[in-house]
Subunit: 338 residues, 2 copies
């Protein structure tokens, strides 16, 4: 049985989306056990009348919720009875709980994971690795996308190893093509950190390093994992999402601006629905935190049930594939510092 | 008469696009004088039979071309007879030439502008400021987008002052809303440089600082100028362009995948043409280099005639509005270092 804990509060659609997503995941994976944290009365009420395997779900009462605007360090210190911090504490203390999923405050989750759960042997810093869909129908992981606004080339080396193992073990991509985000494709581009990282990654035998990538090629399908500092990674992911959302809005507004366009769109209903679904990050799960001692998956604050279910699936597959052990093994073998 | 020099070689569509764009600009601005650099025979041949005011155009022979893959420092040292370096040298030496436009190698242009043309009084580093269209029908300037992969908070302060003056004087935007690119909107977000810059910009009386901006909101129309380091600025601009291009390709492929979608698209021909034009960076000119002693505008390597014409227009308007003097004045007044 794989035991995962789901923080049921903190997102825009909590707790409904979290509970619905949990029940969907339970239905899908028969060796999954879920623990839901949050206000027990509310969760029980929402579960009332729903069909699910009661033997594989339990609730832990945690009445507080951490707001997105709360200072992370204060939140984890003062809100011990919040659904997130209680989940983190149980994750730390109970050996049989293998991972957790939260759609709450990112800052609080990173801080709590770092200070309470701790890191895998050899890991310097944990890193987020969200996914985006590529135009070839695949996916690309971006590591780091915001856990570390400042990095060194040693961090980038570890991000590359962890992201490569993640894409291989959780998504079955053989020899993932790992690229370094840079301002040009030629070697020697970028600042000192990028130049050093390029050298290091070129000589790393355990990854399939394919060189620098310019951000315009992120969705090209030529890359499986992109390594970057958390600042530019954050810009990369949010710009992609933002541009896609704004463009689809623009297309919609254009269609509604003239009757003849609306008539045309009647023929394309399914096409636009498919495009919308393709660009909907909810379908690609959350941002896994790589490098923590136990599995931590952060869903978007606006996650609906499908996104929460995907996040739970990600956590499940990370546990199932023994990703953590593989990361420790690779770092032990390929990441020696003098 | 405003005298601008146009490097006619180096881009994907050179020299045709450069020459066509030049003639369009000449037609448009009656007090504009253009000097074209490049292989004189080829330029003369392309001009043959064209109608234009011959009194306002001259050619300077420069047979060499700098390739995009050449090392900038080597190129400017060894390719003295190239269309770009000859243009830069004339810009430096001849008082009556106010600016130049090039669609050639960015690295060579920045290096040449820095070492040959020099900077305005008080400027620490020049910065690129390209434009993107917003969903509200306006534009947003991104400064820096690649001239400085590493910055300090003092650089960011100067970028903010220069970009604000640029958007105001060249595009007539009153009190441009200047934002700092960051990983979240709250003050205190980002690395030390961003935190320092936030403080500095908040207290700067000569700009309308509206706080941090998340990259997903770049196209929202809520900002007129965004200040960032050249690395994340490069990611911001190229991700936006890349996502837009890939999405439009995706829509096109979807339409052609089924007859019924194609039928629908027949009703929407103009709509898709408008959308394509809206997202086409060629219509928004080039990336001006702010802070150099004379005006330097860098067009995209793939610039067609319309883009070259827009670049010349940008250079023209920068000269016409005395932007350089205004930048020097503002830095003198608001940028003191102990």
């Amino acid at each position: 049985m794989i035991k995962i804990i789901v923080d049921c509060f903190g997102g825009d659609h909590s707790p409904e989306a979290n509970i619905d997503g949990s029940l969907d995941a339970l239905e899908r994976f028969k060796d999954l056990y879920l623990i839901l944290t949050g206000d027990e009365n509310i969760i029980r009420e929402k579960l009332c009348g729903r069909e699910y395997d009661t033997a594989r779900l339990s609730i832990v009462h945690a009445p507080d919720v951490i707001g997105c605007d709360e200072k992370p360090t204060d939140a984890i210190r003062l809100k011990k009875e919040s659904s997130m911090i209680k989940a983190v504490r149980m994750l730390r203390d109970e050996d049989d709980i293998a991972g957790m999923v939260s759609v709450g405050s990112t800052g609080a989750l990173v801080a709590a994971a770092l200070t309470r759960v701790g890191l895998l042997e050899g890991v310097i810093r944990p890193a987020f690795c969200p996914l985006l869909p590529t135009m070839k129908g695949g996916i690309v992981g971006i590591c780091d996308s915001g856990a570390n606004v400042e990095v060194t080339s040693d961090y980038l080396k570890q991000f590359a190893i962890m992201a490569s193992l993640y894409m291989e073990n959780v998504y079955g991509i053989q020899k993932p093509r790992v690229a370094l985000l840079n301002v040009g494709v030629e070697p020697g581009k970028g600042d000192t950190i990028r130049q050093e990282a390029y050298e290091i990654l070129s000589e790393l035998p355990c990854i399939n390093f394919v060189g620098n990538m310019e951000s315009r090629d992120l969705l090209s399908g030529l890359y499986d994992a992109v390594v970057c500092d958390g600042f530019s990674g954050n810009v990369l992911v949010k710009t992609t999402e933002g541009t896609a959302v704004e463009l689809l809005k623009k297309v919609k507004a254009a269609i509604f601006s003239r009757t003849i366009y609306k008539i045309g769109a009647l023929f394309q209903k399914k096409m636009f629905a498919d495009l919308k679904s393709f660009m909907n990050y909810q379908n690609y799960g959350g941002s896994v935190l790589l490098g923590t001692r136990k599995v931590v998956v952060k869903g978007h604050g606006s996650s609906k049930a499908v996104a929460v279910q995907k996040c739970i699936e990600q956590a499940y597959r990370m546990v199932e594939s023994s990703l953590s052990a593989k990361i420790e093994e690779a770092l032990d073998k390929f990441d020696h510092f003098e």
